[in-house]
């Protein structure tokens, strides 16, 4: 079982993720003789307050992906009963442990904006991913463990 360990930084528990196109899209690209884009490296905060994972819009643009679903999204600033509608994409996620990328799962994720450069990440790993992992936050020792 791969294990990611890291320090708890100002941004929290941040992990390295590779975001790539899903298998069906790969088959389509190959059928048309087109290159499969390289998966994009994203630093992502483990966010137990997020029910779904999300990444900066630029990740999807660089993979040549267009959204195929939309999902209602509620945040502290959305009026009650009036969620945003967010663009959703199906992607292949890999998690990086010890410098090695481990294929994880295909997942529906949303495109989000609003990350601050000082935070040091442009993605959120939500409970859709955490449902398949163990995550330990050692606050006093200032480090975390994430296994999958």
């Amino acid at each position: 079982m791969p294990i990611i360990t890291g320090p708890i930084t100002l941004g929290g528990a941040v992990v390295d993720v590779l975001v790539g196109v899903d298998d069906a899209r790969i088959r389509l690209l190959r059928k048309h003789g087109l290159p499969v884009p390289t998966s994009r490296h994203v630093r992502a905060m483990v966010d137990t307050g997020a029910s779904l994972s999300g990444f900066d819009q630029a990740v999807f643009t660089s993979l040549g992906l267009t959204p195929t679903r939309q999902r209602p999204v509620a945040t502290p600033s959305t009026p009650t009963g009036a969620p945003f509608m967010a663009a959703e994409f199906y992607v292949r996620l890999s998690l990086v442990a010890g410098g090695v990328a481990h294929p994880f799962k295909n997942a529906w994720v949303i495109a989000v904006t609003g990350f601050q450069p000082s935070e040091g990440f442009t993605g959120l790993i939500g409970r859709d991913v955490l449902d398949y992992c163990s995550f330990s936050y050692h606050g006093t020792a200032k480090h975390f463990e994430f296994s999958f």
Binding site: S51, P72, T75, P76, A87, I110, A111, V112, G114, L124
Partner: protein
């Protein structure tokens, strides 16, 4: 806005889709101004979308009149379609 036509089609056709109980909580594949099919999972609808429409835009939406929002405790700004 991307997929505006497909979203309009889905909103127009949703009441008719919901009239058939077997469609409820399944996943509609929408291309242009027509519903191309209803599938058990969003992944199977996506795969059919690539098979049928290639790189043409298409939309996959759950057939429900009560979509459950995903929740973020952080004030993200979602990108709309």
């Amino acid at each position: 806005m991307q997929l505006a036509r497909e979203l309009t089609t889905f909103q127009r056709e949703l009441p008719e889709l919901l009239r058939e109980p077997a469609n409820r909580n399944r996943h509609a594949l929408i291309h242009g101004d027509r519903i191309a099919g209803v599938f058990d999972t969003p992944e199977s609808a996506l795969e059919a979308g690539y098979d049928l429409f290639g790189f043409d835009p298409f939309l996959v939406q759950e057939v429900t009149d009560a979509p459950v929002p995903v929740v973020f405790s952080r004030n993200i700004a979602p990108c709309r379609l």
